[in-house]
Amino acid sequence: MDNQIVDLYLKDAATKHDWQAFLESLGINNFAEREVDQIDFTIGIYQAGELVATGSVAGNVLKYIGVCNKGVTSGARFNTIVSELVNRMFAKGVYHLFVFTKLKYSESFQHIGFSELTHSDEAAFLETGSPDVHDFLADVPTVSDQAHKKVAGIVMNANPFTLGHRYLVEQAATENDLVYVFVVNTDLSLFSTAEREQLVRAGTSDLSNVIVVNGGDYMVSYATFPAYFLPSKDQAITYQTTLDARIFRDVIAPALHVTTRYLGTEPTSRTTSQYNQVLNQELPPRVAVKVVDRQVAALSDQPVITATEVRQFIKNGSLQDLKAYVPDTTAQFIQNHLVTLQTRIQKGMNIDGN
């Protein structure tokens, strides 16, 4: 089996032990269960009974790639491993892949067809395949003479679209010629991506200068910012949000001439408030950041509108309370689909996160 690619089954304790020891010897140290659990498959190369190269895939992200170059042409094993991972994903019909890596390895990936989206001081984020970020941007609707217009962007999960979101969009719409609302693409929320997008569209349809777009893999996606969806350490959040913010600043904003990003204040979510803090550090001066205070709700004892609260109302079936929090379009949708939504919650959908 020397120098052949083999599947590694991490469920097997001995295999996992070897695999982890090998990666640790190369300086990879994060083996938290929720990281390792995400892995879909792992491959490796053995030589004389020793693991000398390995790589894994989780979703559409390559992970845990480690290679020992002792005794072989530098880069040969790396190319073999990445080639095999990429080809297996292509065979499954997944043609668009990402990798997060230490900055020093960015070049190795670029050498085999990956292109760097952005990097921070320690990490780089690259993609390969199709459709890539240029295809994504080419599909975003634009208006004539956009380069000379005042354009703003908002990224929201809108799970579901509330009056708080509406207020934020309205503010941006009155202060700009054009507003892009990017809806988070990752489908891990109570309301599905299609439902969230539909409710944002319905709730902003009277604002003629608002364009609602799916944020794809590039804005708060499971690939770029897993901490938004999984409880994570502060360090991981800062690391991921820095890359997310830089993609927006360096790739998205220049292509669409976005000069201001609007944010809502986040008094209740730790992850989101940390994200906002990083956006404030990273985006200016190239993209201005405008923080809009949360609108005071109609109810005197409820100071802020949050989608988290709305999801609680759905769980308890309190449709009357909900009306003060969401636009009619969202309220109507919830009323029509209450049973479906409640079933999702009963089946274990987490509603306390984002």
């Binding site: 042409t73 190319n79 073999t80 080639s83 990429v86 050498h111 085999i112 395949g129 199709s130």
Partner: protein, 97 residues
């Protein structure tokens, strides 16, 4: 031949080339990455374009990552990618070979 879906052929190993073909509105655009781009870039592009033309492909987006492949390899990988992308792997295009 019409490109119906994204497909790929080849690997990233030495002496090979990985060719990915996807749909395009019109024309053949080639995005080539190669260490010998300076010396052989035009030759590699021309082999890919000629092969695609011979197969009757007029519109495609091609992404190629070359690791020093010879012309015959480039041609073989291009044919395989086109056949996969046009869902015609059951009817091999012998005449192109």
């Amino acid at each position: 031949m019409e490109i119906k879906e994204t497909a790929v052929a080849g690997t990233l190993e030495s002496s090979d080339i990985q060719i990915m073909i996807s749909k395009a509105a019109d024309g053949i655009q080639i995005d080539l990455q190669s260490d010998v781009e300076k010396q052989f870039g035009d030759q590699i592009r021309s082999v890919i374009t000629t092969t695609l033309n011979e197969m009757g492909v007029t519109a495609a987006k091609v992404k190629a990552v070359d690791k020093g492949a010879l012309d015959c390899v480039i041609k073989a990988r291009a044919i395989a990618a086109v056949q996969r992308a046009s869902q015609t792997t059951d009817q091999p295009a012998w005449e192109v070979l």
